[in-house]
Amino acid sequence: MRRVVVTGLGVIAPNANGVPDFERALREGRSGIRRNEEMAEHGFACQVAGVPQGVDELAEKSFDAELLMAMNQAHRSVSLASLEAWLDAGLVRPAPEDDRVDWDSGAVLGTGIGGMDTTAGKVVPLVDAHKVRRLGSTVVEQVMASGVSARVSGILALGNQVTTNSSACSTGTEAIIDGCLRIRHGLAERMLCGGVEAASHYIWAGFDSMRVLARRWNDAPEQASRPLSASAGGFVPGAGAGVLLLESLESAQRRGARIRAEVLGVAVNCGGHRGGGSMTAPNPDGVVRCIRGALADGGIEADQIDAINGHFTATGADPREVASWARALGREPGRMPALTATKSLIGHALGAAGGIECAASVLMVEGGFVHASRNCEDVHPEIEPFAASIARETRLQPLRAIAKAGFGFGDVNAVAVFGKWNP
């Protein structure tokens, strides 16, 4: 089986844009949660969100005017993150007039919701006003689910498989797993993988209506995202893009590329909406099987896992998730690996969460740290036995391996284990 490594990262996140600042933000425990005026104006119960800042300015520096006219927010974020990952891997951005295609490089770039900001902000108002022809030529590519991966393929002349996956909040992690398997099977040398989601009150409205968003912290945005906490009362919606450049070890070594981490083991499954699972809740047996599946896939011993960047969203599911990790790894409360929740800093970026949080996990295993998991000074009573494992301050510690999980509506699960690269 071919080994797969991470040679590039790209991030557009609520607390930082670009990998160097994102790593600083993680180490500082910097929050990207702010008050959101659109949510307030439209009468949302939750009026805080994690919205990446300055994305348009970055996009204007990187893409030409014609391209920008056809790029909604998701296109801009995913293109910036993909371009950063590509350059971070030491690859060269092709000129638009260069007709060569890179047949060995592809992309799996997912989205949970798709171009709903364009649908709601442009398609519906214009069609309802009987102004169909005013939509112009760029609407389809912005609302089609695969628009995000298609956009990136055009910028980088990707000629291998280019597709968009969607599995709700496990989308970004699933994309990385899909790309990893493709490289393992010898079908591609390099795959840009991850997820993207736009920041839009239209996207978040349904979650607000479900009462799953944090609604008691509108006056203290940085305290609103509270995974693992007794006072957690729902997630804070987020947005952005996180992209990993996955590469076969042979290709990376042939190019002399800097290797950030190895993808050791991966697994996806579904709990089948049974055994306590449903459209909106995970079947714990499915979660445990998925974690164990990722370990088995990589031939990883449970005690090699030194840190867990969980799905931990700050809903009632956090205690059950911790219990599932303990069961899957066979760890007693005092012997759990370090626990952290990137969502405590950036909120829940839905389809982008897995991409951004896998990028965070790669940075942690590469740099030997576990970033601070904020806002759980009052650990949930059911998680209290594991409290000593929670990184409430950033910990500097060498990690042999870090496990990242993403769970999504539909009872779908994705787990990826990233290992420290030792040349």
Binding site: E66, P96, E97, R133, R134, G136, S137, T138
Partner: protein, 82 residues
């Protein structure tokens, strides 16, 4: 608006769509929009919408079929202007 001003405005609207920057730099009324400026034909509908917005006119789809050069655009807009 003079013909020269109209021409300059049309070129300005075409600018972001022109893939051939050399052809754009040397643009004349006779320059062909698709063949020389290498504007993506799918984007012509956006160019026409930009004309409509800029000059506050309406352009029928049939009118667009006859447009090939920058001069054709200028003539079409002139014909629609009040």
């Amino acid at each position: 608006m003079s013909k020269e001003e109209l021409f300059a405005k049309v070129v300005e609207i075409l600018t972001p769509y022109a893939k051939n920057r050399a052809a754009l730099a040397a643009v004349t009324p006779e320059t062909h929009i698709l063949d020389e400026l290498e504007v993506n034909s799918a984007r012509l509908v956006d160019v026409v919408l930009a004309f409509e917005d800029q000059f506050d006119i309406e352009i029928a789809d049939e009118d667009v079929d006859a447009v090939e050069t920058v001069a054709d655009c200028v003539a079409l807009i002139q014909q629609k202007l009040p």
